[in-house]
């Protein structure tokens, strides 16, 4: 069955509560800052927000429902999307369909987290039932260890090298140097990358994201409403999501994108060669490479060659993670699942300032989340277009 189009849906007002390394504020404060920024950017009054999609790891024990009372919202449509790095595109999907169906008129999509001395460790120690009993006791390496195992298997099966991972990390840092919102803006050379201390081999320091606090958000509404509010907007050309794709692969060598990418590009009516920028979920460079393969930019196992052929900086052959990605912006918990989407919106709206990709008309955004046991379970992707 072919997915119905997203005709008539407008994506507006990408906002970011600037990331900080640590904060004494709670997660609800960060979510509320994203919400306040959405109201300021749109001119919409709070009571007119009648739909809410929210994601956060550190809001626990609360969820989106508690946040409605905390922030004084009375939405008639509410989604709590605990899907980590896949949550931005999934929020977009839920919000867009709610708007098309008339279940909500203006949906605020927000994700954010706080970070302090103990929040990251607490999150890891209780991340999932499987993880608590069958992963974390094995050295408590957290995602660094789990993704190191995936990277080790990937390097052995494809011939990927540390330099290939470094190409992505170094070019993202070059992009981040033009982004005032990025936490890491010092120059990073390939020599720096290769000389970094090991964290969980084959992963070294610059393969790993830095946990931080922050929030991102955007609004979804009917095009007619966006026009009446004089808000520039981005169109949704196609989206996909998949959970627990390819469960029989012994080690994760592909994500669920590969199951759905034909649907994605068919919905969009364009192909991977027709986008001017790509925003992948880059908790580690190897995961970006799985996205290049899974979404049809190259064949399975061929991302190392693909990476060697391309320049991923703003003026390069394929601008990638144009704001610096999580590797240079920081990983503000669930906001990491929004970062690429918000950056793609800014690019397509022409709001990316010094890092603007010239002639950006179409963008691919993808998400990846929730390493429940040995692999990331949630995958999502969207193709967006300039109006």
């Amino acid at each position: 069955m072919t997915a119905r189009s997203y005709e008539g849906v407008a994506l507006c007002c990408p906002v970011t509560e600037p990331y900080v390394r640590r904060s004494d504020h709670g997660a609800a404060w960060f979510l509320a800052q994203a919400l306040r920024r959405l109201l300021d950017a749109s001119g919409v009054a709070k009571p007119d927000i009648d739909g809410l999609c929210a994601s956060s790891f550190t809001l626990h024990p609360d969820t989106a429902i508690g946040f409605t009372q905390y922030a004084g919202l009375s939405p008639r449509m509410l989604e709590w999307l605990p899907m980590g790095g896949a949550c931005g595109v999934i929020a977009l999907r839920r919000a867009a369909r709610a708007v098309q169906a008339g279940d909500a008129e203006i949906v605020a999509c927000i994700a954010g987290d706080t970070a302090n001395e103990t929040s990251f460790r607490d999150l890891l120690a209780t991340f999932s039932s499987f993880s608590r009993h069958a992963v974390y006791p094995y050295g408590a390496g957290g995602p660094n260890a789990s993704f190191a195992l995936i990277a080790d298997a990937y390097m052995r099966s494809t011939g990927a090298t540390r330099e290939d991972f470094g190409t992505l990390a170094v070019s993202q840092r070059a992009n981040a140097r033009r982004n005032p919102l990025a936490l890491l803006r010092n120059e990073l050379t390939m020599a720096d990358y290769l000389a970094a201390r090991p964290i969980a081999e084959p992963h070294h320091l610059f393969d790993c994201v830095m946990p931080c606090a922050g929030a991102d958000g955007f609004l979804v509404m009917p095009e007619a409403r966006a026009r009446s509010l004089n808000l520039p907007f981005v169109r949704v050309l196609g989206t996909i999501e998949r959970h627990n794709g390819f469960p029989d692969d012994p080690v994760q060598s592909r994500g669920g994108w590969a199951m759905d990418r034909d649907s994605l590009w068919a919905q969009a009516g364009i192909g991977p060669g027709d986008v001017q920028l790509v925003e992948t979920y880059d908790d580690y460079p190897v995961i970006s490479m799985l996205q290049f393969e899974g979404l049809g930019f190259c064949a399975p196992g061929e991302a190392p060659g693909f990476v060697r052929r391309h320049d991923f900086t703003i003026e390069g052959s394929l601008p990638h993670n144009t704001g610096g990605g999580q590797l240079s912006m920081g990983q503000a918990g669930a906001a990491g699942g929004y970062l690429g989407l918000v950056e793609a919106m800014r690019q397509l709206l022409g709001e990316a300032d010094r890092r603007q990709v010239p002639g950006a008309r179409h963008a691919l955004v993808s998400g990846f989340g929730m390493i429940n046991y040995d692999r990331g379970l949630c995958t999502s992707a969207a193709v967006l277009g300039r109006t």
Binding site: Y138, G141, A145, L149, D152, R197, A200
Partner: protein
Amino acid sequence: MIRLQRCVACGVAQYPSREICVACLSDRLAWETADSLPGCVLARTRLHHSNEPRFRPHLPLTVGLVQFDAGPVAVCFLAETAAPGDSVQVRIGMGDLLEAA
């Protein structure tokens, strides 16, 4: 003794353990026990960083993914000598955790 869960209804082995069978959803599950179980190393990492202070004196730690011959995949502590592709035996070691060598 190491034990692995197997579904009485459909015969599928699973790890981590569950209250139902991942394949057929039956709750008729049995435990197979042995001194050790054979498997193959799929991937390994050396941890130089731990989020828990109690592990820090023991770094670096070697951790791997091992596929039991019975099918499922487990995260294990790995012997220094065990490399991906090697056949190993998985036992219960310190702290009731899996060790492969």
